[in-house]
C-alpha cells in the first residue's frame, strides 16, 4: 500500500495494511504526531525515513523534517528539539549508529526522551548489509532502553509503547527499537493499524515540565559538575532506568486495554516452554526459523522451547532467571559477538549467565554465535544448537561458546 493509503486508514476504525517493519514504525510516527524527524541515509534503517518523507510530501504528516549531513548531527538535532518539548524520531544502522556514538552517550545522561529505530546491521569492516546486533548493543551501558521486535506488528505497537515509556516523567530516557536488517526492515506483513483516537487516548502529549528549555523557564542544562556532583546525577539516571521496568509493564497493560492487543509478558516471549526440557534463547527475527525448527523437533519427540528476549534494557533478570532455571539446558543464540568476553560468548549469553547466577538451580548454558552479517539461521542450524544443548543437559561436557553455520 502507498504511504498515503495507509495513513488514510488510520482515520476510521482499525485497518489492516501490508507493510514492512520499517514502514510499520513510520506509521507509528504518524500516529504519534511526531514533531521533529531527522534522517541520514544508511541501509537498512533508511526505509523508515523514505516512507516518512512520502507521508510528509503527501501532507499526511506535519513535522519538521531535516535531512542531516551525518548521523552525529542527525541525533544532535533531535536531542535539542526534544529539550524544547518536541516529540522526536530518528534512527540509524551499523556504523551510522556508531558515527553518532557521542550523541548516543549524552542523550540518556541529559534525560532526553527520544524514540529511534535501529535497523540492525553488521558493523564495518568487511562491508555487509545484513543483520548483526552489535550496533544497538554498543549502547547497552549508557541508559538507552533497548527493545528487539520480530514482526512488523510488534514494531508498530512497540514504537507507540516506546513513546509512552520514554516520555514518562519518571523515565525521560531514550528508547531504541531494534529491527533486524532485511528480515524485518524489508519484509512485508499484514499489520493492524490502530485508529488515531485510540492512539491519542493511549499516548499523552510529551510534557517536559520543569526541564523545558524555554525563556519562561530559564534553566541551565548540563553544566560542569565534576566530582562534586557527577555521581549523584548518574545515580538519578540509574534510578530512572530502575523505574523503567514498572513503567513498561503499565504501558503494555494500557495498550491492551485501549488498543486491544496483548503481548503477555512484555519483557520476553515464551514459545512451547510449558513442557520443554531445553530452551533456546534469542532476540529478533531468528524466532521464525527457531519456531519452525521447534515444531519439527517436537514431531520427533524433542521437547524444545524458545524464550525470545524483547527488552534487553532494562533486562528482566529476575523474571528471566526464574523462567530459565526450570529447564534442563539453555542454549543462547547471539546474533552478535563480544571478543575477549567471559567464555568468549556473545553479549546475550553473558547477560543470561549473569542473570542466572543468583538462581537456586543452574541449568548448563551454552552460548551460540550464529547468523552474523545477515547469514540465515537455518532450521538445521537450530536443530544442531538444540542437540548440543540436549547433550549439555545430559551432563556431556560442551564448549561454552560455539560458532554455528561458519566455515572452519
Amino acid at each position: 500500500m502507498t504511504p498515503t493509503a495507509v495513513a488514510e486508514s488510520t482515520k476510521g476504525t482499525e485497518q489492516t495494511a501490508l507493510i514492512t517493519g520499517s514502514e510499520a514504525i513510520a506509521v507509528a510516527c504518524k500516529l504519534a504526531d511526531v514533531d521533529v524527524i531527522t534522517g541520514y541515509p544508511i541501509r537498512p534503517y533508511d526505509t523508515v525515513i523514505q516512507y516518512i518523507a512520502q507521508l510528509i510530501a503527501d501532507g499526511e504528516m506535519d513535522c519538521e523534517y531535516i535531512v542531516a549531513e551525518g548521523e552525529h548531527s542527525q541525533f544532535e538535532i533531535v536531542k535539542h528539539a526534544s529539550t524544547v518539548g518536541a516529540r522526536v524520531f530518528c534512527g540509524s544502522s551499523g556504523v551510522g549508529w556508531m558515527y553518532a556514538f557521542e550523541c548516543l552517550t549524552v542523550t540518556p545522561a541529559l534525560r532526553v526522551p527520544m524514540v529511534v529505530m535501529v535497523g540492525n546491521r553488521a558493523l564495518d569492516d568487511p562491508g555487509a548489509f545484513g543483520v548483526e546486533h552489535n550496533d544497538a548493543l554498543a549502547v547497552r551501558d549508557l541508559g538507552w532502553q533497548l527493545v528487539w521486535v520480530d514482526s512488523a506488528q510488534e514494531a508498530l505497537d512497540t514504537a507507540l509503547i516506546a513513546y509512552r515509556v520514554a516520555e514518562d516523567r519518571r523515565i525521560f530516557l531514550p528508547c531504541a527499537i531494534s529491527c533486524d536488517g532485511a528480515f524485518l526492515t524489508h519484509s512485508q506483513a499484514h499489520v493492524k493499524i490502530p485508529p488515531q483516537d485510540q492512539v491519542n487516548q493511549f499516548l499523552p502529549r510529551y510534557d517536559r515540565g520543569d526541564l523545558l528549555l524555554h525563556p519562561d523557564n530559564p534553566i541551565s542544562v548540563a553544566p560542569q559538575a565534576n566530582e562534586d556532583w557527577l555521581m549523584e546525577i548518574r545515580r538519578q539516571t540509574a534510578a530512572a532506568m530502575d523505574r523503567s521496568m514498572g513503567v513498561i509493564r503499565e504501558a503494555y497493560k494500557d495498550y491492551e486495554k485501549i488498543i486491544g492487543r496483548s503481548y503477555g509478558n512484555p519483557f520476553f516471549e515464551e514459545y512451547m516452554t510449558d513442557d520443554a526440557d531445553i530452551v533456546l534463547v534469542g532476540m529478533g527475527t531468528l524466532s521464525t526459523p527457531v519456531k519452525v525448527a521447534i515444531r519439527k523437533m517436537r514431531q520427533e519427540g524433542k521437547k524444545v522451547g524458545l524464550v525470545r528476549v524483547r527488552w534487553f534494557r532494562p533486562f528482566a533478570a529476575e523474571e528471566l532467571a526464574k523462567s530459565l532455571s526450570r529447564f534442563k539446558g539453555i542454549g543462547v543464540i547471539d546474533r552478535d559477538f563480544s571478543l575477549g568476553s567471559p567464555y568468549a560468548s556473545g553479549v546475550l549469553t553473558t547477560e543470561v549467565r549473569t542473570a542466572l547466577y543468583p538462581a537456586a538451580k543452574h541449568p548448563p548454558i551454552i552460548g551460540f554465535i550464529c547468523g552474523l552479517g545477515g547469514r540465515e539461521v537455518t532450521v538445521p542450524d537450530v536443530e544442531k544448537m538444540s542437540d548440543i544443548t540436549f547433550a549439555a543437559a545430559a551432563g556431556k561436557a560442551q564448549p561454552a561458546t560455539q560458532w554455528i553455520g561458519v566455515r572452519e
Binding site: 504526531d33 514533531d35 535539542h80 557521542e102 528549555l213 553544566p223 560542569q224 556532583w229
Partner: protein, 335 residues
Amino acid sequence: MATIDYPLPKLEPFKGQKKIPLEEFFTSGHRTCQGCESALVMKMMAKAAGPRTIVLGSTGCMYVANTTYYSTSWVIPWMHTQLGSSGSAALGTAAGLKALMRKGKMKKEPINVIAFCGDGGGADMGLSAISATLTHPDYNLLILMYDNESYANTDIQLSGSTPYGANTTFSPPGKVKRILHHRWKKNMAGMLAAGHPECKYIATVDMSYGLQAMNCVRKALSIGGPTFIHSLDPCPKGWDYDPMISHDLGELAVTTGVWPLYEIENGLLKLYGKTKEIAEGRYKRLPVRDYLLRQGRFAHFKDEDFDYFQSKIDQMWEKWLYPGIIPFRAELDKE
C-alpha cells in the same frame, strides 16, 4: 521557497553606547580568566539578544568556565551541546520551537536561538554541521564562533584557526624546529559566505568594537534564517600577554589588517570600522610586528618569521579579490 512561519524578533540597532540597556543576561558566577575577551563576547551577545533567547553552548572555555554546577552565569535558558554540535544544536532547537508553534503546542512568539562554539568546535570539528545548518533557510538562528585561536580550555592546543607559527602546547618551538605549526589560519567567515549563498547574514566582529559587534548580533537574529558571526577574541592565557592589554590587542588585530571587519548582508558585502578606512586608503595599516610582538606565543619569532607573516597579510590586502574574504582573484581581473 523557504518559509519561516513564526514571528521574527524586532531588534533595532543600539544607537550609541549610552543606549545599551543596563540589564545583564550573562552575569556573575563564571570563572573565566582575567582579561578574557570571549567572556565579554558572551555578555554582549546575551545583552544584544535580550531575555527571550535560548543559548546553546558547545564544549570549550565558554562552557567549562561559565557553568559550574550551581553557579551558572546564564540568566537566560542555556544548554550544553557537544564540541562539534553548535550547528545541530541551533537547528534542532529552532526546529523544535517551529514545529510546536505551528502545531499550536506552544505560544507563537519570537524566541532567539543562539549556538556558540569556539574555533576548535566551529572551524575544526563542527564545520560540517555549521555548513549544513546554514543551508536551512526555514529556521531562524545564529551561530557565533568565539575565536581565541586555540583549544584554550584544554591547555592551549593549536586549532585550524591558530595563526601561523604560534607557540601552543601542541606546537612548541624546539631546538631543531623553531616553527612547528605552519598552516595558515582558516578563513571561516569568508568560506561560509562563499559556500552558502542563501545565508542572509555573515559578519566578523571584535569586542574592542563592542557596539558594532552587538548590533551585528541584533541584525543576525532579526534578518530571518540561519546566520553566522565570527568573533576574534584575544586570550591572555593562550596568547600569553598581560590581561590588561586584551582590548589593545583586539584593536591592533584590526589596525594591522590581520582581522578585517565586515558584514555580508543579503548578498551585499560591507566593510566597517577601521577595516573600511584601510580599504578606502584613509588609514594606513600598522606593521603586524606591533601586534605579534606583544604576544608571548610569537616570542620565538625571528625577523624572517615576522617578514613572512607580514607578506601574507600584505598579500591578503593586495592580491585577494576581497581582503579577508575571497583569497583568489579571477583571470579576468589581471592587473
